[in-house]
């Protein structure tokens, strides 16, 4: 099974139409990866779908970087009892 980081990079690449190998944890979704307002919403929605979780809207949208998303989603998965890494 792919790691959380790999899955987040794949989703981010798909939504923002990027190469997953170019995405790094320190990248800011808006400033570095060019996410526009509606794409931020799409990213949160796609992360929810990918991991089968439900995120609190304001908290999820406050996450700015790929690394921040990895930590945030790992926490949410743990809270919601979702298995993430083999």
């Amino acid at each position: 099974m792919a790691t959380i980081e790999e899955r987040i990079k794949q989703v981010t690449a798909r939504v923002l139409k990027l190469n997953p190998e170019e995405i790094r944890p320190e990248h800011n979704f808006a400033a570095d990866l060019g996410a526009e307002s509606v794409q931020s919403i799409e990213l949160v929605a796609m992360f929810e779908q990918e991991f089968g979780i439900e995120m609190e809207e304001d908290a999820a949208l406050a996450v700015e970087t790929v690394g921040g998303a990895i930590d945030f989603i790992r926490d949410v998965c743990r809270q919601q009892g979702v298995e993430t890494e083999g």
């Binding site: 509606v38 919403i41 799409e42 949160v44 929605a45 809207e57 999820a60």
Partner: protein, 466 residues
């Protein structure tokens, strides 16, 4: 005509004069009248003190269940009882909506009337509607009604071509016999002068009214004949200088002053064939009819009748206050009518889904700065309808979520957040970024897309309503 030129000096100001004494925003804009108004009748000036309307006991009467039902499939009994209940709530304890009329011919008609009266509302008073047939008074008596409308058509189109009377005299005698039968039954007759705006006023109508007044003089006041002026084909005119039989001011003058029918026994009933229905009703109020007959949302025969909710707003504007009216019930009634399959156009005043929605970005900007710039009055308080902005590329996911929540009527915890609307938000953005669209997106387009993207929500909130 006075052609003397007059110069006008700018009154400079560093603070706005918003004319709030006339545009209070908490109420519909007030109608302030100065009199007298002069109309030339039979070659002589006749004065009307139109400002008197503020003091007179003007009222709204309703014919949603009679004329209103002539333009649509019948309401069920439960629907009519509910609508009647809401009419009482809307008109308030002072009886601004004073009366409503019912058919009496079928078992369902009579059951509806019984159940409406069982609610115990003082207003609107329930009255009947029958043909000008003596035997029909039995129905009125059995229903326990004090008043009934009866057809007394007065144009020669009706007298000769529809009712097949051999002469005007035979027609008048027949009508008067029925009026006497009403008196004998202890029921107040309300004579509906059908097609009056296409009648021979001097040759038939006024002599008939004289007879009615004479008959009324022999009975107690509470039985005296009321007169409904029925503009059956919408030919009535409010314009100064218009001739009889189409002139509303002149018609009312003849009834009121030449025949002596007091204002509280005069009622106007209009039709909208020439887009004049609301203003003609208001004109009748100003010139001396105390009652204007209306239907909810104007539903009525062919093009419809004066819209009741329009008359309510006119009443408030003329009187300068709510007078016990609960205007938010207009929205409740509109929602109910839509729920039972009666279409109300989106741009329909006071009740359409988009009546206070602005599409232009520049208007939306104005609304954001000060609602009063582009909202006709405080629609949030008076109708429970905040002003809205149509969706464009500038609306963002927040705007799209707001639109969807309003559209599905979701409240509290049921409201959906913007994460859940990402597909619709994407579709909106693509309309502009990909398709090159330059116009705002209509509610109809959004509805279609919402149905496609959110079938579960649609099934839960909209099934059976659209």
């Amino acid at each position: 005509m006075n052609t003397e030129r007059k110069s006008h000096t700018l009154v400079d100001a560093d603070r706005p004069n918003l004319l709030e004494d006339r545009f209070p925003h908490a109420l519909p804009p007030l109608i302030r009248l100065t009199g007298p108004v002069v109309e030339t009748i039979d070659g002589k000036p006749a004065q009307f003190d139109v400002s008197d309307v503020k003091k007179r006991d003007i009222v709204i009467t309703d014919t949603t269940f009679r004329d209103g039902q002539q333009s649509r499939p019948p309401y069920t009994i439960d629907q009519m009882v509910h609508i009647y209940d809401l009419l009482a709530k809307l008109g308030g304890p002072n009886g601004v909506i004073r009366q409503t009329e019912f058919f009496l011919y079928t078992k369902n008609d009579r059951e509806t009337l019984r159940r409406c009266r069982e609610l115990g509302h003082t207003y609107p008073e329930c009255t009947g509607w029958i043909r000008a047939v003596k035997g029909d008074f039995r129905l009125v008596k059995e229903a326990g009604l004090r008043e009934t409308g009866m057809l007394t058509s007065c144009s020669d189109y009706h007298i000769f071509h529809k009712l097949k009377f051999p002469s005007r005299k035979a027609c008048m005698d027949s009508y008067c016999d029925v009026v006497k039968a009403a008196f004998d039954a202890g029921v107040r007759p309300r004579c509906h002068l059908e097609d009056i705006t296409r009648s021979d006023i001097e040759g038939f109508v006024l002599p008939f009214i004289d007879r009615l007044m004479e008959l009324s003089s022999a009975v107690p006041d509470e039985l005296s004949v009321k007169v409904r002026l029925c503009d059956t084909m919408g030919f009535g005119l409010s314009y100064p200088g218009a001739e009889l039989p189409r002139s509303i001011p002149k018609l009312i003058y003849k009834m009121n002053r030449e025949c002596g029918v007091p204002s509280d026994r005069l009622e106007w009933h209009g039709h909208n064939d020439f887009h004049k229905v609301h203003i003609n009703g208001g004109t009748a109020w100003l010139y001396g009819c105390n009652a204007v007959n209306t239907t909810l949302f104007g539903f009525g025969e062919r093009t419809g009748n004066p819209p009741l909710e329009g008359a309510v707003m006119e009443y408030i504007a003329l009187k300068g206050g709510l007078c016990g009216i609960n205007t938010t019930v207009i929205t409740e009634l509109a929602d109910y009518m839509r729920s039972i399959g009666l279409p109300i156009p989106d741009n329909y005043p006071f009740a359409g889904k988009a009546f206070n929605t602005t599409s232009a970005g520049i208007h939306a900007g104005g609304l954001r700065q000060d609602e009063r710039i582009y909202n006709i009055f405080d629609t949030t308080t008076l109708l429970g309808r905040p002003p809205r902005v149509a969706i464009t590329d500038k609306s963002g996911a927040d705007g799209v979520a707001h639109w969807l929540n309003e559209f599905f009527g979701l409240k509290g915890d049921d409201r959906i957040n913007k994460i859940r609307v990402h597909e619709l938000a994407r579709w909106v953005i693509d309309q502009y970024d990909v398709q090159g669209r330059l116009t705002s997106i209509s509610d109809q387009e959004l509805e279609t897309k919402a149905k496609e993207l959110y079938p579960d929500l649609w099934a839960k909130c909209k099934a059976g309503r659209n």
